[in-house]
Assembly symmetry: C2
Homo-oligomer: 387 residues x 2
């Protein structure tokens, strides 16, 4: 069943100084209310994504807090699936509206990350890995994904230049996106010559620490009709899947079966195949992650997505433009907000009011892919133009 | 719509040494599978409550981790609503089964608390309060609830002896409960003479730090029939509500409107009134909390529940036995597991296989009340005998 997106909102991603996560969420939510033409009192339930509030703000129990700042008194719950937290929040909202028990769900998330040091942030993010079998061995996320990249090169070929093309593409896409953290182009040499973070990754292979928030209002078709709303875009399929947290516990380091299953579930609900997809936002927390996402979702066979950006297939004028928002790489990655931001950006891309909409003027179907950890959690949503 | 409880499980609450939260949850889940006569592969979705994993185990993203330890590969999400985390997880499972999209939901939660110091634990628990306006002012939960108790005495009368009767009752109820952390009786003098934690609370007015886990398997009626299950108890109503986190932001310190709304929603779904309830498990994290819960749920007018235990109305042979499990006070309070444990204990009470079942042999309707923070989150579930 199709769930219309009545409104979306998103703060700029980047550094927000003294603003708290709750304040950022309120800003995104108020924009979504204005976009939808409805108000806080219309909301029946809130699903709020946040990952590292305990570490950054000593704040858990943030579901009621975020709702309160947005003026909403409906039941609100914090959903935590690491960097897929707000993707999961979106899916929970879709499912609640689809059940017929809720007419309006406010979904999204927020994260505050730049108020603590990069070292503290890296340690906080590590809580998305297996504390016993990864964190205690010293694994951080750049480390975990670099292992996946090295293994990918070993099994399938490819190298740093291929990954660099992904960073270059996503930075280029963000140049005119006012909400993006990095609104500037880079070239392949910039990527290759940047300081090494964890081989094979240089600085530009990694998404940044960011503050920011996202929100979307999901409504029932009955509510939309009764209130004279005319949402142009709806979520027509949603899928979520889980995997073992520790890389060492998995059969392969170069495939992400949770993304495969989440994609299959979402595509099946929407009644689409990968070839029906016109535009995609995928979870490029590191450049290799975009490769793994495109293969898991069936856009490429395993081992073949590595050259997609370099060949121009996923650039803005390619067959399947990927991360027209700038992706996590250039738009920024306030982790608990990212899944919701993908929904906000994709909705605008499909409605025609995104700075990059012209590049996909005929697009009817877009998908979002939001991952947690080394894809131990994954949520895929299918968005379609419905009016 | 009624959602049968096919099986329940619960670890003993108390100190579990080296056992991690994921291991504790697996133990509870495996008991629930055995109780239900189904297996991990039957599960369609998992909702896992955990509150302070980041502080106690440096572990977030625990939904997939807990499911994996229980042998479940279905999508799993960590639900965090402070001490109401697994109550919310139960409600999410009820709603998913009721939607018709999920046949079997594994719900529950776990918490590990005794591996860190009491001071560290108290600081971790404070993350359920408003970091900006409460934690930074030095408020901890014994402090917040003691303010509520002092104000209650001021507005309505009552005193430490009334609260002591609640602690004595709940300890008495736990004496033969093998799963309880404190299986021993205390008397009023023990309570009054115990070291002061935060006036008016002595040690026995406070629930302890505990390790433990809980699990329940919620199934569709179709699934139960197809698999020859014959669940005796079902959840017939569920309600959740939110409030502002900070006590100072509320109109009253002696009422808990989130509990009132959650109760009304749950009772309305089940089609019952307070007078239909035969037995209750309520969130007595501090003795005063039991008083506030009984008033919010409509069992007493405001200002009148303070003497309920002292008058014998809520004791095991009273008109409305409350916390026959021992409650959080004596059973223990591994915070993320508590809401699920209330379901496990109430299911057994109603089925007749709880050590205290004889006291409520004719009971048909039980309710559970699970609160987060100073009741900024509340989930109420109605359980009824259905076969």
């Amino acid at each position: 069943m199709s769930v219309p997106i009545a409104g979306v909102g998103m703060t700029p991603f980047g550094k927000h100084g003294e603003l708290t996560a709750r304040q950022l969420f309120a800003e995104a939510a108020l924009e979504a209310f204005e976009d939808a033409g409805i108000g806080p009192n219309d909301v029946d339930e809130v699903f709020y994504g946040n990952f590292m509030g305990e570490f950054a703000e000593q704040q858990g129990h943030s579901g009621p807090l975020a709702a309160d700042m947005a003026g909403v008194t409906a039941p609100s719950t914090r959903i935590e699936s690491a960097c897929a937290s707000s993707g999961a929040a979106v899916r929970f909202g879709v499912n609640r509206v689809r059940s017929g028990e809720v007419d309006v769900a406010l979904v999204g998330g927020a994260e505050r990350m730049t108020n603590i040091s990069t070292a503290e942030g890296t340690a906080a993010l590590a809580a998305a890995a297996d504390a016993l079998w990864e964190i205690k061995q010293g694994i951080t996320f750049p480390g975990a994904y670099s292992l996946m990249a090295q293994r990918y090169f070993h099994e399938h070929g490819g190298g740093r230049e291929d990954l660099a093309a992904i960073a270059v593409k996503n930075h280029q896409n963000a140049v005119e996106n006012d909400l993006a953290q990095f609104q500037r182009a880079i070239d392949v040499d910039d990527v290759l010559e940047a300081p090494t973070v964890c081989s094979p990754f240089g600085l530009y292979d990694c998404s940044p620490m960011s503050d920011g928030a996202s929100a979307a209002l999901l409504v029932s078709e009955e509510f939309a009709e009764e209130h004279g709303l005319d949402p142009e875009v709806a979520i027509t399929g949603t899928g979520q899947s889980s995997d073992r947290l520790a890389l060492a516990d998995r059969v392969s380091m170069t495939s992400t079966p949770a993304a495969e299953r989440a994609g299959e579930a979402a595509f099946s609900e929407a009644g689409i195949e990968p070839e029906d997809v016109d535009v995609a936002e995928v979870h490029d927390c590191f450049t290799i992650a975009e490769v793994l996402a495109l293969e898991a979702l069936g856009f490429y066979e395993q081992g073949e997505a590595i050259s997609a950006a370099r060949n121009g297939e996923t650039t803005i004028d390619g067959d399947l433009p990927v991360n027209l928002s700038g992706g996590l790489k250039a738009k920024g990655h306030p982790v608990g907000a990212t899944g919701g931001a993908q929904i906000s950006e994709m909705t605008k891309l499909l409605r025609g009011d995104h700075v990059n909409s012209d590049a996909v003027a005929d697009a009817e179907v877009g998908i979002t892919h939001n991952a947690g950890g080394t894809v131990a959690s994954c949520v895929v949503n299918v968005l379609e133009v419905v009016s």
